[in-house]
């Protein structure tokens, strides 16, 4: 996952991503789970599992966006 190289003047660009990040990740998770369930006949287990993965991916993206990731050496955690 990219993040800008510690340049505060670019931090607004991350703000631009926040709006659709969780929605898109959840949609992808639900789609993947739905397709896996249809393929394996396990409805609704993969849908629920991948829904969780999708929401988690959305929050992880937000976490990165907010600059809370623990980059080695910069001391932010």
């Amino acid at each position: 996952m990219t993040r800008l190289k510690g340049n505060r003047s670019h931090s607004h660009q991350w703000g631009l991503r926040v709006g659709t990040e969780i929605v898109a990740s959840t949609m992808i998770g639900l789609g993947a789970g739905y397709m896996l369930d249809g393929w394996l006949g396990t409805r609704p287990w993969f849908l629920l599992l991948f829904f969780g993965f999708g929401v988690a991916a959305g929050f992880i993206n937000l976490y990165y966006v907010m600059g809370l990731d623990h980059k080695a050496g910069d001391g932010t955690r």
């Binding site: 990219t2 991503r17 659709t20 898109a24 990740s25 992808i28 992880i60």
Partner: protein, 244 residues
């Protein structure tokens, strides 16, 4: 009756039915608007940058300012090798901004109000970043999905989550542009319709509001093209410098 349906302007219809060898390549209003956008932006940029001089006149200055704006956007977001990607981002920005703006002309159609158009652009950028990853890093590009500093027992959880977050990129790019443009045009249509329905002595309120909103829409058209290009640059930078 059509004027009462706020989503009517977004309906795709066939203008010229073309089916050579059974292949449907019909000309729709979306395709026509895209072709017009390409033609008009190419003509405009050619006119602006024709007959370049050492001391630029106003026309050339405008063209150079536009180019420098895109160049700065690219170089600020793609570190080290930004210059190489200026043509891609210039083309992308010009196409998206042109498509957004052409829809503001009366009786026209904005191609970016169709998810298929924004989706195609987003998937093209996404596939380009995957190509860059594979070309620059070979098989090691799959290591992008393995987050650093995570305990091994959490890997089965974190790798699918990282993959979801990677796959969500084209979706978020496409949905953001499509939703903003569709919402803007719908609000414009609804406010203008209120103006037509209102009694004559209050008609000036919604109609003047729709004029103000048109100004906001011009701004939003440029902002949305800018956001799309900034994020494309970020994804390209991520492909060049994974884990940076």
């Amino acid at each position: 009756m059509h004027a009462m349906q706020p989503l009517h302007p977004f309906k795709v219809h066939v203008l010229l039915d073309l089916r050579p060898f059974g292949l449907d390549v019909s000309l729709t209003n979306t395709a026509l608007a895209l072709l017009l956008t390409c033609g008009m932006t190419t003509l405009l940029l050619t006119l602006l940058l024709q007959g370049r001089k050492l001391i630029p006149d106003h026309r050339q200055l405008l063209g150079e300012m536009y180019f420098n704006f895109i160049r700065n956007l690219t170089v600020n977001n793609i570190h080290e090798h930004g210059e190489r990607y200026v043509p891609v981002i210039l083309t992308l920005f010009t196409l998206i901004a042109g498509s957004n703006l052409i829809g503001l002309l009366p009786g026209s159609f904005a191609p970016t109000t169709q998810i298929v158009v924004t989706g195609t652009l987003a998937v093209a950028v996404f596939l380009y970043t995957i190509y860059l990853r594979v070309r620059l890093h070979g098989w090691r590009c799959v290591l992008t999905f393995v987050p650093h500093g995570i305990p091994v027992f959490l890997m089965p959880l974190m790798i699918p989550v990282e993959m979801m977050s990677f796959l969500a990129r084209p979706v978020s790019l496409a949905v953001r542009l499509f939703a903003n443009m569709t919402a803007g045009h719908t609000v414009l249509g609804v406010i203008a319709f209120f103006g037509l329905l209102a009694p004559w002595y209050v008609q000036w309120v919604p109609l003047s509001l729709s004029v103000a909103l048109l100004g906001v829409e011009v701004f939003i058209a440029a902002i949305q093209a800018y956001i799309f290009c900034v994020l494309s640059c970020v994804y390209i930078d991520d492909a060049i410098h994974p884990h940076s």
